[in-house]
Symmetry: C2
Subunit: 275 residues, 2 copies
Amino acid sequence: MEKLYIIKVGGNIVDDPTQLSSFLQQVGEIFGIDNSNLNNSKCILVHGGGKMATKMATSMGVEQQMIDGRRITDIETLKIVTMVYAGYINKNIVAQLQQYKCNAFGLCGADGNTVLAHKRNSKDALGKENDYGFVGDVDAVNTTLLKNLLELGITPVIAPITHDGNGQLLNTNADTIAQEIATAISTFYETILIYSFEKIGVLLDITDENSVIKEIKLTYYKELNEKQLIFAGMIPKLENAFSAINKGVSKVIIGNAEKLKSLINGDAGTTILNG
Amino acid sequence: MEKLYIIKVGGNIVDDPTQLSSFLQQVGEIFGIDNSNLNNSKCILVHGGGKMATKMATSMGVEQQMIDGRRITDIETLKIVTMVYAGYINKNIVAQLQQYKCNAFGLCGADGNTVLAHKRNSKDALGKENDYGFVGDVDAVNTTLLKNLLELGITPVIAPITHDGNGQLLNTNADTIAQEIATAISTFYETILIYSFEKIGVLLDITDENSVIKEIKLTYYKELNEKQLIFAGMIPKLENAFSAINKGVSKVIIGNAEKLKSLINGDAGTTILNG
């Protein structure tokens, strides 16, 4: 099967023009028109939101509501994230990738019905009311469309906005979108999911940058988790990773976006594997 | 040859949710999955900007600079129009069209290098310096990509933002984009260009809504123009129309967006033809 890389790039990288440029240049070098090193492997990029939406909301006097530390996507916030994520960030990434000879094409979940979602149920499992507003949970990924675009030599660049099929846009977590796309499309490609951000990988000792764990299989993860050796903030990413692997993704790589080439070559970051 | 409709919808319609909805519903009925009346004719939608960008700029304290009544696109204004045109407006149109069973896909000129432009030369023909800022004049339309998308059953929805191939986004007039796409793609399709907006067509008497001119050929246009019977605001649209027809577009229709079906059937608006 042909190789397909689903690369999620995190918000802190998106916020930093220098780091973002360095990352995008590597995407161009690996997946651009002139690429030769990866046997024409294909790529889908998913980007996070960054802090620009919050800054915009502040400058426009839109108050951010929170429940238990989570931001509520009210109608004004949805407007802003649609503008910032699917407009400003998405189009600037695309224009830069075009400069780096990568045939990027920006989209959100509404475009071509790529990612269909539903507004999150406001009642949680315990029956508690938590209305997160216009937040979408993914129902379906249009793999036919993504395959068609990839076969045209296009690199889809996906903003974390989805729709419900009834005209409503929704705010959806970019990690989740990357994982849902990766698992859905793994029927057609040997799929490698990369979570790239400002950190260098999963650390055995959070205070020691040299303690990156090179490889984690499920049994080792359980062992580490029992001993509470995994940094809490990394657990959702690892849970996502194992869930993706269970559903057909061949491996997940976690590491620094500015080291994309090394991540892909296996020379940096943490690789999560089956077994 | 297969028929292709390039439909430009103007800013005042985009600003009015009711009129926009009525227009988009007709696009869905004509070009959606269930369409039957137009022998599977294809469609590309180009939308204008509307007043939201100006409102946003005001609420963010970004001052609008003007030269001779024209807005200057400085770097802050470019940010705002990218967010509003390619983000908010584009994605809301796409989500609504998806609701109306039209497989819409939003893009700007940077996506897939669809519309390549260059920053407008700040010296005009008379050598006068007029720096309009980040305004793009169109160099090339990627007809191969647009054809590929159309053949996948996609209705491209284009925001009036282009790029220069070197990572710079540019603000470009939507009428011009529609015309450039129509002329470039007329090699492959029988192309009909529609300028739809809040007005009902070209009027013989500006004070009489019943004086719509049904058909204008070049000789008649010259005659009307010599007698100064054409409303000044309509002249650039008509000049654009004749220029498009000279370059291969089969006809241009000007009229009310809410009467899209009638415009296409020839029961409303003004049709501009060769001869």
